[in-house]
């Protein structure tokens, strides 16, 4: 009996090892070149994609636009279980292969590298929070766009006309029948749809997350109130994610969708998703490690503005932004409380692993949005991101001469905190009136003086900039300690509830070179000797 047991355990081990190790695993195979490939941009690209390149002074095509060498793909296909997909931008193929097969692939002369892809779960950057009381709907839907200057844009008739926005999400359940989008279907503003998960064109199922996201760009409620700012924009809708846990390949789908969006003339990509601890370590959030972040940077190189949710990990263990919000050319959007210009608790913090500023900007993290049927209040940086994408579309309509990264910079500069920033708010909430505006130097709203009592410093708010009747959290003082590389060593936000001076000390052992403070539009810097 004892021998039988030992045999059982031994066989269990063997079986487990063989099940785990012999079953095909997903790999990304990178190729050395695209030898002997031809490419005609006029045949491949939509006219709008050509226009984008011309407008931004980009070449009509470069080697990354050329197709992957078909001979390489055929050779690869013979050596693996399945060839899943490929990316011309990254000159790579995604395959399912056993270790033996992948070893054989690695000997091919045209293969430059192989990386194992994971097959784990990541959900879109939204969250359900039933604990928060719903705001008044009218108030909320008005506020989420008015905070960014909806009335200014309305007065100028700027609604994103001529700008094409690609939305990548889990699906757009019910959107084709939803009154929130009827005007878009009526005016034929949907220029293309693609489900990369099921490899078909129908995208109006899979989950309502995309429906809610879309509504924050261009939806309206039955009374005709707008939920987003870019109701005149054109749309490309792509399904790149699965809503629930399944082994999946969203990163590859995302990159494939970005190539599709590029081909079909998208100007802006909005994606409200993030990949975090299921695949990566925080120190890998450097914009270079993940496949999706590399793809997102490539999309920016093609002249598109990539807008991505910062993520909802701010109050979780992970804490920081995920991929592709970590990519340097991706506009990462954090979330703000509906009440005030203050970080909403779940919004992921920056910086990136290599200390770059993230999130770049912020928008309202709690919105009134369309769902599969009807409307609801939803939480998540998933919805801050499309608000920002809609705003960006409006600004691009207004300033069509801007290149994508110029637009990126101007969006940052129109943030309510600019030139102040921190890793919770980025540069803050952009507003149409601040965008590309020649602003005069703001008047000081406070003074920073030595506090003789504590040997520290104290901030004296000027009386004319303090409103004793103002709502809670509406008067905020931002303070950061900055090193000589402009990285923040520490930062804090103080709610100013009286004219009582705010005294503080900084840690003299930290390598601080400057203190930076912001209150009501005025930013002040003081060097630390």
């Amino acid at each position: 009996m004892q021998n039988k047991g030992i045999a059982f355990l031994f066989l269990s081990c063997i079986a487990c090892v063989s099940v785990f190790s012999q079953s095909p695993v997903k790999y990304r195979v990178y190729f050395k070149n695209k030898a002997n490939q031809q490419f005609d941009p006029y045949a491949y690209f939509d006219q709008k994609a050509i226009e984008r390149r011309l407008k931004q002074g980009l070449p009509l095509s470069d080697s990354t636009d050329f197709p992957v060498n078909l001979l390489y793909l055929r050779e690869l296909e013979q050596r693996v279980e399945t060839l899943k997909t490929h990316s011309r931008w990254l000159n790579a193929a995604v395959v399912m292969a056993t270790p033996e097969q992948i070893a054989s692939v690695s000997t091919l002369p045209f293969v430059s590298g192989i990386e194992q892809a994971s097959s784990v779960v990541c959900l879109p950057a939204t969250r359900d929070d039933e604990s928060l009381p719903p705001l008044k709907k009218e108030e909320e839907m008005q506020r989420q766009i008015e905070r960014m200057g909806a009335s200014v844009l309305q007065a100028e008739g700027i609604h994103g006309k001529g700008v094409r926005i690609a939305i990548f999400d889990v699906g757009f359940s019910g959107a084709d029948q939803h009154p929130a989008f009827a005007h878009l279907f009526q005016k034929q503003q949907i220029k293309g749809t693609r489900d990369f998960v099921k490899n078909r064109d129908y995208v109006y199922e899979g989950g309502w997350h995309g429906t809610a996201v879309w509504s924050c760009i261009a939806g309206k409620n039955p009374e005709g109130r707008w939920l987003g700012l870019a109701m005149d924009a054109e749309f490309l809708l792509a399904r790149t994610e699965l809503e629930r846990s399944e082994p999946f390949a969203e990163e590859e789908y995302w990159v494939a969708a970005a190539e599709w969006a590029d081909k079909n003339g998208a100007d802006i990509i909005n994606s409200s998703l993030g990949y975090t601890d299921t695949r990566y370590f925080p120190e890998q959030m450097n914009g270079k490690t993940s496949f999706i972040s590399r793809g997102a940077n490539m999309a920016a190189r093609k002249g598109m503005l990539v807008v991505n949710a910062a993520g909802n990990e701010g109050s979780g263990d992970w804490g920081i932004i995920g991929a592709p919000a970590d990519a340097d050319s991706v506009l990462a959007v954090g979330g703000l409380e509906p009440c005030c210009d203050y970080h909403i608790d779940f919004s992921s913090f920056g910086p990136t692993a290599d200390k770059r500023l993230k999130p770049n900007v912020a928008a309202q993290g709690r919105t009134f949005s369309a769902k599969a049927s009807g409307f609801s209040t939803v939480d998540g940086t998933s919805f801050a991101s499309p608000l920002m994408a809609g705003f960006a579309a409006c600004m691009w309509q207004k300033y069509p001469e801007l290149k994508n990264m110029e637009l990126f910079k101007l969006l940052e500069q129109s943030g309510h905190l600019y030139p102040y920033f921190d890793y919770a708010h980025g540069y803050g909430l952009p507003h149409a009136s601040r965008f590309n505006a020649n602003s005069t130097a703001p008047e000081p709203t406070f003074e920073l003086v030595k506090d003789t009592a504590t040997s520290g410093l104290k901030v004296l708010i000027k009386q004319s900039y303090f409103d004793s009747t103002a709502a809670e959290s509406s008067q905020l003082l931002y303070i950061s300690e900055v090193d000589n590389r402009n990285h923040l060593i520490a930062y804090r936000v103080v709610e100013v509830s009286s004219l009582e001076p705010y005294s503080f000390n900084y840690n003299p052992f930290n390598p601080i070179s400057r203190l930076r403070l912001h209150y009501k539009g005025y930013t002040f810097e003081q060097a630390i000797p």
Binding site: P351, H487, R492
Partner: protein
């Protein structure tokens, strides 16, 4: 040292306490330090809970009832990551082995009488070193893994429950301790297959439960069950 300095700084900050309310305070210089603890970091400690079934019947004369709940554990496991593929570790657990004995002709252990119910329950302390083989790429997650472990247990308490239903309708229950025919020290092997916090395990006793001079056949050696990582 750095944390002390930070704590001192924070204390100073408190001393200089504001009339104003600090609503957000972050220290990214420290926040961004790479932690050494975590599911796929250098060190990881987590509690776990197991529920197992008696799976093999055991030898004739001491057969256990199969499919009954027979194994419970509550323990703490330490994992030391060696590489993305390999880890080693050890665990301590409170382990309960509950053998529900079949009442059938030819039964000899722990006695020859047949009861309505008969359970031998051992309360053990368990120590188990293990080797972990991980499969696939992952972030700071446990991922998919196979554990091969050896274990040793010491029985610090035990009880024999016997219940008889008499013809006149009365029920006689007995509870016996101080049994002398079983070994307090036992050892065996465990195999676990896990996906993140869910684990299937097989737990096989290699040592004989009863002293050889009693000439008892061996009861069930194998339990199979599910385990949950609790952190």
């Amino acid at each position: 040292m750095k944390s002390l300095i930070t704590a001192a700084g924070f204390f100073l900050l408190l001393l200089s306490a504001p009339a104003q309310n600090v609503i957000l305070e972050k220290d990214p210089a420290i926040d961004s330090l790479v932690p050494s603890r975590g599911p796929n970091r250098k060190n990881y400690v987590h509690p776990y809970m197991s529920f197992g079934f008696t799976t093999d019947p055991g030898e004739a004369g001491a057969r256990s009832r199969q499919g009954t709940y027979g194994h419970y554990q509550f323990g703490v496991r330490y994992k030391r990551r060696l590489s993305q593929t390999f880890a080693v570790g050890y665990e301590f657990a409170y382990d309960v082995n509950d053998l529900s004995q079949k009442q059938e002709a030819g039964k000899v252990a722990p006695d020859t009488f047949q009861y309505k119910r008969e359970r031998l329950i051992f309360y053990n302390g368990l120590f188990s070193p293990y080797l972990r083989i991980n499969f696939g790429r992952r972030g700071n997650q446990l991922g998919k893994y196979l554990d091969i472990a050896a274990y040793g247990t010491y029985t610090f308490a035990h009880v024999l429950f016997q219940r008889s239903d008499l013809p006149d309708g009365r029920v006689v229950r007995s509870r016996t301790t101080g049994l002398t025919y079983f070994q307090r020290w036992n050892y065996g092997a465990t195999v676990r297959i896990g996906i993140n916090k869910f684990i299937l395990y097989g737990h096989y006793r290699l040592s004989d439960l009863f002293y050889s001079n009693w000439n008892f056949p061996e009861p069930s050696r194998l339990q199979v069950g599910i385990q949950f990582v609790l952190k």
